[in-house]
């Protein structure tokens, strides 16, 4: 009993709702188109460049011809190195934060620290890597310095994902094990970690994707403009896909001439990174569907 104008008011309220829903759907559509647009565009321009030679040869004729094999190898080494640094440290940190730590100042500091670390710009990580690993520890511009820098860059991502995975393990699992007189560490290593493993793995894969695509952190710490030889030790410089795109697209005298190579390299990088991300997404949804607790 809201008086007479109810009907026209109701109409107006539904019009507002309709307009709002329209705007919201439009925004979602634009975001989708943005992603598809970028991918389709790179595919359209880049697919011709992707040949067996492109993937397996070194750059030639001052990088105007040839392939990107050293950059693929370099990105592989850097990424694997980064995950070797970040995964154990990240998982252990997450175990401490979820399983051992009690509320208090110490844990608060760690949490704020992890959050702030996650927010440090990638170029600042690059500066840090330069100042600490390259100069102070005298690693020089090398796989080692680059992998460490990238590893610390993705550490917060790994910690976050591992924490989430650990928190998703039901408390009853822990209680059941502890009630059987099993020690805390054994409970964690035998019960909690195996249950959380798929989630941790997803996080690790996402971390790989992130590390493979980063440019700024390796610019001063690992990436070489050009090398024709593959690295023989962790103290060697390497080429890397993201840096190679940047170099071809901005430096040198043949920018227009090497466009096909740029598109091709970008396509390889994007296929690599999005492929890795897609694996993580699919894995996660499979895990969620299978979960029975």
């Amino acid at each position: 009993m809201n008086g007479q104008p109810t009907h026209s008011l109701m109409k107006w309220r539904y019009i507002k709702q309709g307009v709002f829903f329209g705007v919201v759907r439009f925004a979602a559509l634009i975001i989708t188109l943005a992603l598809l647009g970028i991918i389709v565009f790179l595919l359209a321009h880049g697919w011709r460049a992707i040949t067996w030679d492109f993937l397996t040869l070194s750059p030639m004729d001052s990088m105007t011809k040839g392939g990107i094999m050293p950059a693929i190898v370099g990105t592989f080494y850097l990424t694997v190195g980064a995950i070797i640094v970040a995964l154990p440290l990240g998982v252990v940190s997450a175990i401490y934060l979820t399983e051992y730590a009690k509320q208090g100042l110490f844990i608060r500091i760690i949490r704020v620290g992890v959050n702030c670390l996650a927010g440090v710009p990638s170029v600042v990580f690059g500066l840090f890597g330069l100042g600490f690993f390259v100069v102070f520890l005298k690693f020089g511009s090398s796989i080692l310095a680059g992998a460490l820098t990238l590893g610390f860059l993705i550490l917060p991502t790994i910690i976050g994902a591992a924490e989430e995975a650990l928190k998703a393990v039901p408390q009853t699992f822990r209680e059941a094990s502890l009630a059987l007189g099993v020690s805390k560490w054994r409970t964690i290593s035998r019960i909690v970690l195996p249950s959380a493993l798929p989630g941790i793995l997803t996080g690790a894969i996402l971390g790989v994707g992130r590390a493979a695509g980063e440019t700024a952190p390796i610019m001063f710490t690992a990436a070489a403009f050009f090398t024709s030889v593959l690295p023989r030790s962790v103290f060697d410089e390497v080429m890397a896909l993201p840096y190679h795109i940047y170099v071809l697209a901005t430096a040198g005298t043949h920018i227009e001439q090497t466009r096909p190579l740029q598109y091709g390299t970008a396509l390889v990088l994007i296929a690599l990174v999005l492929g890795v991300d897609l694996v993580a997404i699919v894995l996660r949804s499979m895990v969620r569907r299978k979960k029975r607790w």
Binding site: N115, L117, V123, A266, I270
Partner: protein, 322 residues
């Protein structure tokens, strides 16, 4: 204490006869091991904090020497950045202005899109579309920044230059659009979490009072999620201000204070990335770039601390009076 090594804890081990001394000894070693593990893990978890300290330390170590040459205010507010001239000038004010402008503009684009996408995902979309859109946004977040920079350079820039008849397509607007693409996933996913966390009871109460879905979203869900949404916006801005490759490749690189949105700029990260390769080791230029890194670091640190503070305060009290 019968933590027999090698046995599965869920299956009770066969009770073997054991002397009291033996089991006491086992209990003791087990306890010692627990303590060692706990402290070791605490130390390893603390490495993140140490790392943050190390970052500050080494930024200062390599950056502070510049202040033997010029004062802090000359550095921050000096309007000329000519690090390779003789004598060099190290005023980063144009770089700061460049960073602020592209960040603000990119957020003006990214906040509405990110927020609306979050609303769509958490409140409106059917289950299937919701999953797909979430994946799309995650993939968008995964796009390497160098690829976005490349896209802005070879597609957006020529198009803008032609369409608007500009001297260059590498400018503030272009950089802001590409930065927005990077900030949207951050804003959207954190806002979505915040909306998701709004108790179902609030929404039910609103519907039961005869509110439409739009009214429930606008007057109950969004206000209740406001702290999380603010966090999302702040972190999105932090992401944009610290992003390097996009501004390096598409902002144009002019180290002058811009007079219009189609002018080119040289934000701080771009300056660091572009010049570090050429700056002679431990020269004034080298130190000045590290000092720029200090400024950048503390700006993003401040953003992150504010975001952390907001999300914590509201976690404790609930969202109070709105």
């Amino acid at each position: 204490m019968c933590a027999v090594a090698g046995s599965k804890p869920a299956v009770p081990a066969k009770p073997k006869k054991r002397t009291i001394m033996e089991s006491r000894k086992r209990a003791l070693t087990s306890r010692v091991r627990e303590i060692i593990i706990k402290n070791l893990f605490a130390f390893l978890a603390f490495i993140s904090v140490l790392l943050l300290g190390l970052i500050v330390l080494f930024l200062f170590r390599e950056g502070l020497p510049i202040f033997k040459q010029i004062s802090v205010s000359q550095f921050l507010f000096g309007s000329a950045w000519y690090p390779t001239y003789n004598p060099p000038e190290y005023g980063i004010w144009p770089l700061i202005v460049g960073s602020v402008i592209v960040t603000v503009l990119s957020c003006l684009i990214a906040v509405p899109f990110g927020l609306l996408a979050a609303v769509y995902i958490s409140e409106i979309a059917p289950a299937r579309i919701k999953e797909i859109l979430k994946s799309i946004i995650e993939l968008l977040a995964g796009l390497p920044s160098v690829v976005l920079g490349f896209f802005g350079m070879v597609i957006l820039a020529p198009w803008m230059q032609e369409t608007f008849d500009l001297p260059t397509g590498l400018n503030i607007v272009n950089a802001s659009v590409m930065l927005a693409v990077m900030a949207i996933p951050t804003i959207s996913s954190i806002s979505e979490d915040a909306l998701y966390a709004v108790p179902r009871e609030y929404k039910e109460a609103s519907y039961a009072l005869g509110a439409t879905k739009y009214e429930t979203i606008a007057k109950v869900a969004i206000p209740a999620a406001l702290s999380g949404i603010s966090t999302a916006v702040i972190l999105g801005m932090a992401r944009a201000i610290g992003e390097t490759m996009v501004v390096l490749m598409v902002a144009g690189g002019s180290a002058a204070i811009p007079r219009g949105l189609f002018d080119s700029v040289r934000p701080m990260p771009a300056s660091i990335a572009a010049e570090m390769g050429e700056a002679p080791f431990q020269s004034g230029h080298y130190h000045a770039l590290f000092a720029t890194g200090i400024v950048l670091f503390f700006i993003t640190l401040a953003f992150n601390l504010v975001a952390d503070h907001i999300s914590n305060r509201f976690k404790e009290e609930g969202s109070g009076t709105l």
